[in-house]
Symmetry: C2
Subunit: 316 residues, 2 copies
């Protein structure tokens, strides 16, 4: 991706809705995703294939994937905790599958009840499943290093542990790894440091995305640091919806609206039309009336005389 | 100042309180300033010498300056709109005087009813006043370029206008100029660009501080960009109190608590003890019960295993 462009990966329909107690109905999800894509978002994590009992918010993920696949040019991503989830993702036709591996083993066990060895075994099984598919039906497979900047249960995780996890995910057959600040512990210096260390192990081309939270207000500063390190894919959530239910006190993804505004202001094109993005927020607000939506740009509005990096409203 | 240290300049008692409709009583102001200084803050803008009719919140500034001067090691700063204010500041014994010059002439006229020429004349008169004082009683004199990143009335301000303003302030006798994002229009790229341009005109040593707002959520990202450009003094406000009353929709200074957390996390020492800083916030919250206080760190708390860049709690 060129220096002056980034890929905004909207994770609200997954990481956002999954952390709300209310359940957004399937039709509203579809309308929201359609509106997000219409604003120019080219990758959306639309759901996760997890136990319906544990996360009833995600029970309609197959239906949502089917809908999202009808939107031209949209990369349809899902999260899966294991092989079973990956099988469902493949069946539904997801373009991208993300498997989280919490570098904090305590958090991994608490979150998905698996040790590092067990998650790596799932990664190997998922890779084998993908390899068994015809070439043109293989989803992109990312291993996400969660709690990479520290864990609310363990505190800081030794870098050697993180690098081992990254290396093992690649060896298990992932196409790339991502770095997740699940707990909002990262800062611009640690973001830079870890990106460099992980890239030294897996290769620059195999770490292109970060998933940052805004728990302590550093989300955009951390995104800036990551961008300056050459990261080109940024997860974020409309209205800052979401967080991590098993990490107490850790809530709040980076707000898509503010992140897009930052990049566009800097002359870095996101391909997203900000007024259209703010319209999509209305669907979220109406669909989840009891949720607090975050973001400064939606309240303050765009600066007088503001011009986006490049006008790229997709044709209807 | 060494690379791994910054000076946090708390402007809450001035920029914060000045923008609240309620008035904090003098004793609470004193307690708050004392608590801020006790947390390790070494520069506080404690008030402004302005018309009591226009800003009754600032009517006790002379008393507050006198109190703040009793705190050992504290740089006591005030804002003045004109010579008369500077005379009062000198009389009260302020260590630092800031005169704002809005690079948007429309905003300047709206805010302090003066054209650029008239503000420059005031700067010359203030310089003459300071020069007339014995050497050891001369306050530091800063000219602050406000609305430097755009104006809610004029939009973007041509760089040539800003550079002319900077040069004229220095010629008028200011010791340095500062850059103010009064409206929250700045972004990391424009912050870097303007710092470089202004320094090319006034010299690196004559632009060391920035005053950033968080109106559109970019405050910390902008501060990071400024830090990376070599800026060492950062204005901010506890609880994000404040903004600019004459720029509609523009509210919210950078939150001191989050800014200090960012720098300390990065290993950049602020000299401020975060738990003590959070205690000072309680005094503000109790003193201004109707004001919304911003900040993520106060809600989320410090990360497990968090260590500050350097333990520097001042002795009682």
């Amino acid at each position: 991706m060129p220096d002056n462009q980034v890929l905004i990966s909207e994770v609200g329909p997954r990481d956002g809705l999954q952390n709300c107690s209310a359940i957004m109905d399937t039709e509203t999800k579809k309308r929201w995703i359609t509106a997000l894509a219409a604003s120019g978002i080219r990758e959306i994590e639309v759901g996760s294939f997890v136990s319906r009992k544990l996360l009833p918010q995600m029970a309609d993920t197959a239906t949502i994937v089917a809908h999202a696949r009808t939107i031209p040019g949209l990369e349809v991503a899902v999260l899966v905790p294991n092989l079973k989830g990956a099988q469902m993702a493949v069946e539904a036709g997801a373009h991208k599958i993300t498997l989280p591996l919490s570098v904090s083993e305590t958090h991994s066990i608490r979150n998905i009840r698996r040790t590092h060895d067990e998650v790596i075994e799932e990664a190997e099984r998922i890779s084998a499943l993908i390899a068994s598919l015809p070439q043109d039906q293989r989803p992109h497979f990312e291993g996400s290093l969660s709690t990479a900047f520290g864990c609310t249960l363990e505190g800081p995780i030794p870098e050697a542990v993180i690098l081992t996890c990254a290396e093992r995910l690649m060896q298990a057959g992932c196409d790339e790894v991502g770095l997740s600040d699940t707990t909002g512990y990262g800062d611009p210096a640690s973001i830079r440091r870890l990106i460099r260390s992980v890239r030294a192990v897996v290769g620059v081309e195999n770490l292109t995305g970060v998933h940052l939270h805004n728990t302590r207000g550093l989300g955009l500063a951390n995104a800036l640091a990551a961008y300056e390190e050459g990261i080109s894919t940024f997860d974020c959530s409309q209205g800052g919806l979401g967080g991590c239910p098993t990490a107490p006190g850790a809530s709040g993804n980076i707000v898509t609206e503010d992140l897009v505004f930052m990049f566009e202001s800097m002359g870095v094109s996101t391909g997203i039309d900000l007024p259209s993005l703010l319209e999509a927020r209305q669907i979220l607000a109406e669909g989840m009336p009891d949720e607090t939506l975050y973001g400064f740009v939606p309240d303050a509005g765009l600066p007088l005389g503001f011009k986006q990096a490049r006008a790229t409203v997709p044709a209807e």
